[in-house]
Amino acid sequence: MADTDRLQVRLVTPDRILVDQSADAVEVPARNGYLEVLYGHAPLVAVLGPGEVRFHGGETGEQTYSIGRGFVEVLPERVTILADSALKPQEIDVAAAQGRLDHGHQLYNEAGDDPEKYKQAEIVIREAESRLESAKGK
C-alpha cells in the first residue's frame, strides 16, 4: 500500500465479515463513552456497549452501523471490531425496535427486588434505544 497512514478497519459479526477496508478514523461506542481512533493509536481493548460504529474517510467513506454488544481491538495500524449484531440505520426495523423497548420497560417494571433482572432489563432498553436513535438519524 502506498498510503501507509491509513487505518485498516474490520467489522465482524457472527454471520460474516461486514467491512474490511481502510479508513481515516473510526468511532466506537465503548462502555464508558465514545472513542475515536486514528492511525497510530496505542494498543487497546475495550468492551463496546450498544451504540453506533462510525467510519470516516478512506475506502469506507462515511458509514454507520448500529451494533449491539461487542469488543474492539485497536492496534496502531489496524482496528478490529467484534459485534454480536451490526445494522445500517436504514436496515433497522423501527417497529421491532420499539417492541423491544416496550418489552424492556415491561421487564424493568416487573423486576421487583432482583438486581440481576434490573441489569437485564437495562441492557434490553439500552440496546433498543440505541437502535431507535440511529434509525432516527437517517
Binding site: V12, T13, P14, D15, R16, I17, A30, R31, N32, L35, A42, P43, L44, V45, A46, V47, R69, G70, F71, E73, L75, T80, L82, D84, S85, E110, A111, G112, D113, D114, K117
Partner: protein
C-alpha cells in the same frame, strides 16, 4: 413367476420413487451449499473471540489477587452432579443415520454418567420427537408471590433424567437473538448453580465427506479457545465414499472452495486477534470485560454448533437420498430384466405352441 403386467406396474412405481428421492437429493444439495456458506462465514468470529479470550487470560489472573476469589462464575468448576445436555438434532427425517447417531451418542453419554442427574434440552423438531417419549419433562412452578425472585422454582424431579426444554423451530432460521436467549439462560443456570456442567451434542460438519458426532463441554470454561471435545464419532470409510459419490453427482464440490480459502485467511488472522505482543490498554476492569465476553463466548459456541449441524443434516440427507436413488435404479434394472425374461418366455411358449400345432397337422 410374476406376470409382465405386474412387473411393469412395479417398475413404474419404483421409477416414481426414484424421481422423488432424486428431487430430495437436489434440494438437499442446494440447501447444503447455503448452510455451508453460513457455517464457514461464522468461523472468523468464533476464532477471534477465542483468541482474544486466550490472550486476555494470559494477561490477567483468573483469581483476584486481593480476595482470592475466582473472577467470574462461569469459570468456577464444581463437582459434576447436575449436568445439562444440549442436543442438536435435525428438523426432518430422510437423512440416513443423522438423527439416530445423535440419539445413540446421547444414550451412551447418559449410561456413561449414571451417577449424575441429567437435564436435556433439545434443539430441532426431531430432537423433541426422539426424547419426548423416553424421558419425563421437568416441571416448574413460578414462585408464589411472583415479584420476589423471578426464577421459576423447579419441582421435585420425577426421574434421574428430565427434559428441561425444547426448541423445535430454532433451526428453521437461526437468528442470533434466539441463540442469545438460550445461551444466556444456560449461563444463568450455571451461575445459579442449578447445573454443574453443560455439554453439547451435535453433528460437526467439517466438509461434505467428513462429519462426525461430537460431545463438547461448553461450561465450565476451563481452557479458552480450546474446544473441549469429550467424544467424537467419525464416519466409516464406506460412508465417506458414499458421501463423496453423492456430492459428485449432485454437483457439490468436496474440495474447499474459494469462500473457504478466503475465510481461512481471515481465520488465521483471527487467531492473532487481541494477541499482539504489546501491552494493551484495557478500557474497563477485568471483571467487566469478562462479564461481557464470557456469555458471548458461550453464545458463539452454540451458534457454531447449530450452523454446523444444519449443514451436516443437509449433507447427510443428500447422501441418504443418493443411496436411495441408486437403490431404486438397481431395482428397476432387476425388474426390467425379469420382465424381459417373462416376455421372452411367453413368446417362446407361443412359438412352441404354433410349431407343435403345425407339426400335428
Amino acid at each position: 413367476m410374476a406376470s409382465i403386467l405386474d412387473l411393469r406396474r412395479r417398475i413404474r412405481s419404483v421409477k416414481n420413487t426414484r424421481q422423488i428421492t432424486r428431487a430430495f437429493k437436489m434440494i438437499a444439495a442446494a440447501k447444503l451449499r447455503r448452510a455451508q456458506e453460513r457455517a464457514v462465514s461464522s468461523r472468523p468470529f468464533a476464532a477471534m473471540l477465542a483468541s482474544i479470550l486466550d490472550s486476555f487470560k494470559r494477561r490477567i489472573e483468573v483469581y483476584d489477587p486481593e480476595t482470592g476469589e475466582i473472577r467470574h462464575p462461569l469459570l468456577k468448576t464444581r463437582e459434576e452432579q447436575h449436568v445439562l445436555v444440549v442436543i442438536v438434532a435435525g428438523d426432518k427425517g430422510f437423512a440416513g443415520a443423522f438423527n439416530a447417531n445423535i440419539l445413540k451418542s446421547t444414550l451412551n453419554f447418559i449410561s456413561g454418567n449414571h451417577e449424575k442427574q441429567i437435564d436435556i434440552e433439545t434443539i430441532g423438531r426431531k430432537g423433541r420427537d426422539l426424547f419426548r417419549r423416553r424421558f419425563p419433562a421437568a416441571r416448574f412452578e413460578q414462585n408464589g408471590n411472583g415479584e420476589e425472585s423471578g426464577r421459576p422454582e423447579r419441582q421435585q424431579r420425577s426421574g434421574r433424567i428430565e427434559i428441561i426444554g425444547d426448541h423445535p423451530t430454532m433451526l428453521d432460521r437461526i437468528t442470533l437473538d434466539d441463540v442469545r436467549a438460550l445461551g444466556e439462560e444456560i449461563s444463568a443456570r450455571y451461575a445459579h448453580e442449578e447445573i454443574d456442567a453443560a455439554y453439547l451434542i451435535y453433528n460437526e460438519f467439517k466438509s461434505v465427506i467428513s462429519q462426525r458426532v461430537v460431545i463438547e463441554r461448553v461450561l465450565p470454561i476451563i481452557e479458552f479457545g480450546q474446544r473441549e471435545i469429550i467424544e467424537a464419532q467419525a464416519m466409516s470409510p464406506e460412508e465417506r465414499a458414499r458421501a463423496g459419490r453423492a456430492a459428485m453427482t449432485a454437483g457439490v464440490s468436496t474440495m474447499p472452495g474459494e469462500l473457504e480459502a478466503a475465510m481461512k485467511v481471515y481465520e488465521d488472522e483471527a487467531k492473532k486477534f487481541g494477541t499482539a505482543e504489546v501491552d494493551y490498554i484495557y478500557e474497563q476492569s477485568p471483571r467487566e470485560i469478562l462479564d461481557a465476553i464470557l456469555p458471548l463466548y458461550v453464545i458463539s459456541q452454540l451458534n457454531h454448533a447449530f450452523l454446523e449441524s444444519v449443514a451436516a443434516e443437509q449433507a447427510a440427507r443428500m447422501t441418504a437420498m443418493d443411496s436411495a436413488t441408486n437403490n431404486a435404479s438397481d431395482l428397476i434394472d432387476k425388474y426390467t430384466l425379469s420382465m424381459n425374461r417373462a416376455r421372452q418366455a411367453a413368446i417362446t411358449k407361443e412359438i412352441i405352441e404354433i410349431v407343435s400345432g403345425a407339426a400335428a397337422i
